[in-house]
Amino acid sequence: MSRPIYYRTVFDIPKEELLAPGHGLCGGCIAGTIIKLLLKVAGPNTIVVNATGCVEVSTTTFPYTSWRVPYIHVAFENAAAVASGIEAAIKILQKKNIIDPSRKINIIAIGGDGATADIGFQALSGMLERGHRVMYLLYDNEAYMNTGIQRSGTTPLLAWTTTTPVGKVLKGKVQMKKPVSEIVAAHRIPYVATANPAYFLDMMNKFKRSLNVDGPSFIHVIQPCTTGWRFDPRIGIKVARLATETAMWINWELDNGEFRVTVTVPKRKHVKHYIRIQGRFNHLTDDDIEALQKYIDKEVDRVNKLVGKEVIGPVVE
């Protein structure tokens, strides 16, 4: 089966803006970009459930809202459970003809890494196992950014955060990043993908595909955070692109069991290009970076084997 492509060029992207301007996200925040593009794909027949986090607090300060679609925020750890309730309600109310049964309504749950991989993981796993037709979007900025840059399960190895400080004994996070999308894939749901806003057409095609499958779907998007990763707010997309160019972040999808890397990288960049532009990795020595490079090489090897051919090439610069 070949991959369905819905958006080939920027001209294919709907003009409609369902995320109103004037929200309070940090200047240069990429989460706003991701959500804006998500809503363009989803359109107005959409209900959004948002876990507590950056996007939630920045877009819904009463009496203002940035959302031109129905939106609900309940708590930090339960977006998937709330979405389950909405999906069940729509199913039965359409059956009883209280909601127009001919209307297809997208239900999208949105959470950050803390809300998804840590505190809300149980609710997410429950929703996936029960098979609710909900798209779950994880915008992963790799720490608790809303509370002020504390480490989360998806913070990468060695990264500085306020709770993994760089001291005389310990320097940054001592554990690996939790492979949350692979854990989600283990639930054998119809569609799981990773995406990168620097490759926005790829990301939007994944959003669309995910809304079209019959059952739960999960999209894990990397979201460089100017505030927490310590880089110039102008270069968020550049940082995102480097993540994929160095294979720190690989864009793949698992569509009904079929695995493919959707953004191939024939010539890979050395990970130092990604590390050295971020303040959170300032303390890394050249040896640390080489160790990290070795880890990525192994990971690239694993993914290439999984695909059965070289989709991510060798380091050339």
């Binding site: 129905p70 309940v74 708590a75 709330v82 309730g85 909405i86 039965i92 209280i98 309504i105 429950g126």
Partner: protein, 398 residues
């Protein structure tokens, strides 16, 4: 009473709760099993499996998700039901505040149970009393019939546009949840349709009219949202009474915010809640035979506290004995309802001594003899001129 309209069935209070939910024609049920509530979930699953109830059941992975899913479903416009006990209620505690803050008319039955530690699966009201300040309307029932009827009334109350607050219907874990009583169940639940019509009276997530629910409210707005809940809770008092009155008129079974027994010119009153009221009534009969006239008062509505109705009763009494089934640790009066009554008597300048007793904690057996002993003990204190005491722990090994 048995007629074409009602069939008389042996039901425990768990099943009565399930029948109440079914006959309210709920759309979505999200629940998680916990002793002693589990048979509610099982029964509802049976109803759906047999086609007796057309609803979506969400088999959530925790009570936290049960209440979250109920919030999502209610926010979409579904009539929503859940049930829990003890630790389950504690796990949802955070969401209880959110359900009421979002003004969603969810109904939940609680087979009340002691809280861990030490682990106890047995009945007391520690769980229910603990959610006192969550802005849920709380009904505490004494019979399986009352459980069934109260769940139907609960939707009438919750969905009233002047209320839009969630409602708890509580009953004793085990002593009621697992004991059978005859219950009159509607032969055809259609008889409730005019009483609780399916009309979405609250704001919902509607793609034709997008709104934002669960916004952030900073110090310039939060207070007003909370005050609106205060107003709704106050208004709900008359609406609870009206719902009971209309229910009585339509279906012939009458309830109020409180219930009295052997109440007349008696000067000593004994107040409690839940199934224990049955034991109190039995003890009152026995004391009556011994020539002692005692009035029984059952608190049916805990939130909003039925101050006006209780005030009327207290004006006639000389002594009030309160038996609490939960402990408010470190409070000036550790019996939670006794403390509320003390506040009420102070507010209304009523001159009546209140004797606070704690009993049936963790379902420690409390018999008619215990009730008679409590009455004797309180009268003794009263006659010795001791007006107010600390809570007395009846039957505990100190």
């Amino acid at each position: 009473m048995e007629s074409e309209l009602w069939k008389r069935m042996p039901l425990n209070s768990n099943y009565a709760a399930a029948y109440g939910a079914k006959d309210s024609d709920v759309d979505v049920v999200a629940a998680y099993p916990i002793t002693p509530q589990t048979p509610v979930v099982e029964k509802i699953a049976e109803f759906i499996a047999n086609g007796e109830l057309d609803a979506e059941m969400i088999h959530v992975e925790s009570e936290h998700s049960a209440m979250s899913a109920c919030i999502g479903a209610a926010a979409t416009g579904a009539r929503t039901f859940t049930a829990t006990s003890a630790q389950g209620l504690e796990l949802m505690h955070e969401l209880l505040h959110i359900a009421s803050g979002l003004r969603l008319p969810i109904v939940m039955s609680i087979a009340s149970r002691a809280l861990s530690a030490p682990l106890s699966i047995w009945g007391d009201y520690s769980d229910v009393i603990n959610v006192r300040d969550t802005s849920w309307i709380i009904l505490m029932t004494s019979t399986a019939q009352e459980v069934y009827d109260s769940i139907i009334q609960a939707y009438k109350i919750a969905e009233n546009p002047d209320v839009l607050l969630p409602v708890i219907v509580a009953y004793d874990g085990f002593m009621m949840s697992h004991t059978y009583e005859p219950v009159y169940v509607a032969s055809n639940p259609e008889i409730f349709r005019d009483y609780i019509p399916k009309k979405i009276s609250w704001t919902t997530l509607n793609v034709e009219k997008p709104i934002t629910m669960g916004a952030v409210a900073n110090p310039d707005w939060y207070y007003e949202f909370k005050y609106q809940q205060v107003v709704a809770m106050k208004k709900s008092y008359e609406i609870v009474k009206d719902a009971a009155k209309e229910f009585g008129k339509r279906y012939g079974r009458f309830y109020d915010t409180i219930e009295t027994y052997n109440y007349g010119n008696n000067k000593i009153g004994i107040l409690t809640y839940g199934g224990l009221f049955g034991t109190v009534m039995e003890a009152i009969d026995r004391m009556n035979k011994q020539g002692m006239q005692i009035a029984g008062i059952k608190l049916r509505l805990f939130r909003p506290f039925p101050s006006q109705d209780i005030k009327r009763i207290l004006e006639d009494l000389k002594v009030l004995i309160v038996i609490d089934r939960a402990i408010s640790y470190g409070a000036p009066i550790e019996g939670s309802v006794a403390m509320e009554l003390s506040a009420l008597t102070y507010r209304e300048s009523l001159d009546i001594p209140i004797y606070s007793y704690i009993a049936s904690i963790g379902q420690r057996t409390t018999t008619e003899e215990d009730i008679m002993g409590i009455v004797k003990d309180a009268i003794n204190l009263f006659e010795r001129g001791k007006r107010v005491t600390e809570s007395i722990y009846w039957g505990v090994r100190q």
